[in-house]
């Protein structure tokens, strides 16, 4: 099994190598990068390209490691016992399988996405060390051990909100998706808008990269915002001339709201435009 990128996802050679290393050696792959660089998309695309099922586990601040394995729904069992339900005799009826369990019992390769692992408690990654290492865990209530017949491909994303423990990092491959350069960005846009007018694309990219260069920006526009903006430009049928470079510095580009999502950034940008206009 090798991952070579897909029609809808542009992967750089170093990213492909990292994914393939993780597939071959069957270790988890940790992905970091600026927001909107396609971290979560990667898992979907890998699963799609390899033709295997994708199991997603989105982490919240209240998520516990145990929930990925299984949960014992004691409360409904207690209730059932009060109502005299027959189900209550077998504890297995109240074991709810988590994402890892579901992946382990597939019996064929699958992709597990553990999304935004840094959202969880500090202890969360440590609690999963053994499970991800050995791909097995013990169910205390039913006294059975769940073991993966085929080790799933594990892709973990992080937004750097918390540091991850060293012991966890040692067991992963790591890749940092850096912000795409102009050439890669061109290919990404091509994938999403195959029939975009070349001059519109060129002007739009200029505007976009100039915006990212402005110092003091709180939230730099990312790839997904560029794509949204292009979609709007196309939908509104904005001519490329509107983005023309000679007055780019003195006019707020059309539909800039799709790129700048922060009030202060908009103010900053408007002030810059205002200043440029005065200096003319």
């Amino acid at each position: 099994m090798r991952f070579e990128g897909t029609d809808t996802y542009v992967a750089t050679p170093d990213l492909m190598l990292a994914v393939n290393a993780a597939i071959t050696l069957q270790r988890p792959l940790l992905i970091k990068g600026e927001p909107g660089t396609g971290k979560t998309m990667l898992a979907e695309e890998v699963a799609g390209a390899l033709g295997v099922p994708l199991l997603q586990w989105h982490i919240k601040s209240t998520t516990k490691a145990q929930q990925g394995l299984y949960e014992y729904d004691a409360v409904s069992r207690l209730r059932d016992s009060q109502l005299g339900d027959e189900k209550v005799k077998d504890i297995a009826n109240y074991i709810v399988k988590g994402v890892l369990w579901q992946a382990f019992e597939q019996g064929k390769p699958s992709v597990i996405l553990i999304d935004e692992v840094d959202k969880a408690d500090i202890e969360f990654p440590n609690d999963l060390l053994r499970e991800l290492d050995r791909m097995e865990f013990h169910v205390y209530e039913t006294r059975q051990t769940i073991r993966a017949a085929v080790r799933p491909i594990v892709i973990i994303t992080s937004n750097n909100e918390k540091e991850l423990p060293d012991a966890f990092l040692r067991r992963c491959f790591f890749h940092y998706i850096k912000f795409p350069d102009k050439e890669t960005m061109g290919r990404i846009v091509d994938v999403h808008f195959p029939r975009l007018k070349q001059n519109l694309l060129r002007e739009a990219m200029e505007v976009f990269f100039e915006l990212r260069e402005i110092p003091g920006m709180k939230k730099k526009p990312s790839t997904s915002e560029l794509l949204d903006w292009l979609k709007l430009l196309v939908a509104e049928d904005i001519p490329p001339e509107a983005l023309r470079s000679k007055d780019r510095k003195t006019v707020v580009p059309p539909l800039a709201g799709a790129l700048l999502k922060n009030e202060q950034d908009v103010h900053l940008f408007e002030r810059l435009v205002f200043m440029a206009r005065q200096n003319r």
């Binding site: 190598l17 990292a18 050696l25 207690l78 918390k162 060293d166 990092l169 040692r170």
Partner: protein, 390 residues
């Protein structure tokens, strides 16, 4: 050969482990990468480096090791900015130095203001505009007998009168893990467990009581799980005389960042006034008014200030005493205001305790803080945490 490579990385202070090295060898055995050096570079990086902040270090170490093997990608990029800037420094001859006129202090300030207004873009070299290198009295890395230093090291000439660190203070590197273990243990004293948030744990005692009251019909009681709910605000002095203590501060910061779930940090310079900031590179673009900080973080936050408290007493007592800008209210007023907002506060001082009596400013701050100043040592940290827990 690769063992040498591994040891080389270790020598370059990259946090690589044997396990990761074995993974790399395994990957090579499985032919994950082709035999080109580019692929090997990517593979080694994905196996060995687990944090993008180490990428730069890895690139340099990799390049050094494989020098002469072949052209290596990544090496040409990411030369430290500081280094480039220092390269720009002109080597002036003594004659040239003598030629620079000595401007008086007042005139210097006046000129500086004027040029700040005049200057519209970044500038390097030359002898008038503010920028790097060059022999104008303003900017850094240059030489002028009575110059004002703006950012960066003072080029070894040490003649700057007033420090105008505009953007070059580097952010504390919180990735230092070495030696932070002990600090983490000390910080753990601050843990305070409390039940808060979503009720997702069965409260057995409550359920039994509730069911009994309910005449035997089940009455399930839930309760939130126990969490460490201590909240910490960290204020870090940065630059100037704190440069000597960077290492210990980095260690403290690194330990604190992974130990507390609710940790907010801000930087200040020498004494706290109207503004603090979070990112040193943008300290003038992105300032946080202290009023806002005081309103945002309630009194349940515990405050830890880290600073050497070594400055001119004017900086604490006089309005306008700040070395950075003209502050309307004295530092002491702001410090008192902080203590009123957050009664649980300590000051950690990296200077040795025995020197404290000899410095007037330390005495002053100590009395404002009601003697809650502790040395930045393990023992001092433990005392400080105990004080915060009272």
């Amino acid at each position: 050969m690769l063992i040498d490579f591994f040891l080389h990385l270790k020598a370059k202070k990259l946090p690589v482990s044997t396990r990761e090295f074995l993974t790399l060898l395994e990957a090579l055995k499985e032919h994950v990468a082709s035999n080109s050096i580019d692929d090997f570079y990517f593979l080694a990086r994905t196996c060995l480096v687990k944090d993008e902040t180490h990428y730069d270090k890895f690139d340099q170490a990799f390049g050094e090791y494989f020098k002469g093997v072949q052209h290596v990608p990544g090496l040409e990029a990411d030369i430290p900015e500081e280094w480039l800037k220092m390269l720009m420094k002109k080597h002036l001859t003594p004659e040239e130095k003598a030629k620079l006129e000595k401007l008086g202090w007042d005139k210097l300030m006046e000129e500086f203001k004027k040029r700040l207004e005049e200057q519209k873009e970044r500038h390097a070299g030359g002898s008038k505009w503010i920028g790097t290198g060059g022999s104008s009295p303003f900017g850094h890395g240059g030489y002028h007998p009575e110059g004002i230093r703006i950012g960066g090291e003072s080029a070894g000439n040490r003649t700057a009168i007033k420090v105008w660190e505009n953007r070059e203070y580097r952010n504390l590197d919180d990735t230092v893990e070495l030696g932070t273990r002990n600090i983490k243990i000390a910080l753990r004293r601050l843990r305070r467990f409390a039940r808060e948030g979503a009720a997702d744990e069965l409260d057995l005692d409550g359920t039994i009581t509730g069911t009994a009251r309910n005449a035997g019909w089940l009455d399930i009681k839930m309760r939130p799980e126990r969490h460490n709910k201590v909240k910490v605000l960290l204020f870090l002095d940065i630059g100037g005389s704190m440069d000597d203590h960077i290492k210990v501060c980095e260690e403290l910061f690194s330990a604190a960042k992974s130990e507390f779930k609710h940790l907010e940090y801000f930087y200040f310079h020498n004494c706290i006034y109207d503004y603090v900031w979070k990112d040193n590179r943008r300290r003038h673009g992105e300032r946080f008014p202290l009023w806002d900080v005081m309103h945002k973080y309630g009194e349940d936050y515990k405050v830890v200030v880290v600073g050497d408290a070594t400055m001119s007493p004017y900086e604490i007592l006089q309005p306008g005493g700040s070395v950075e800008y003209s502050n309307e209210e004295a530092g002491a007023v702001w410090l008192q205001r902080m203590l009123d907002t957050w009664p649980r506060a300590v000051w950690l001082n990296p200077e040795p305790e025995r020197l404290w009596d000899y410095r007037h400013s330390i005495e002053l701050i100590r009395s404002i803080f009601n003697s809650r100043m502790f040395p930045l040592t393990l023992a001092g940290l433990e005392r400080a945490m105990r004080e915060l827990n009272k």
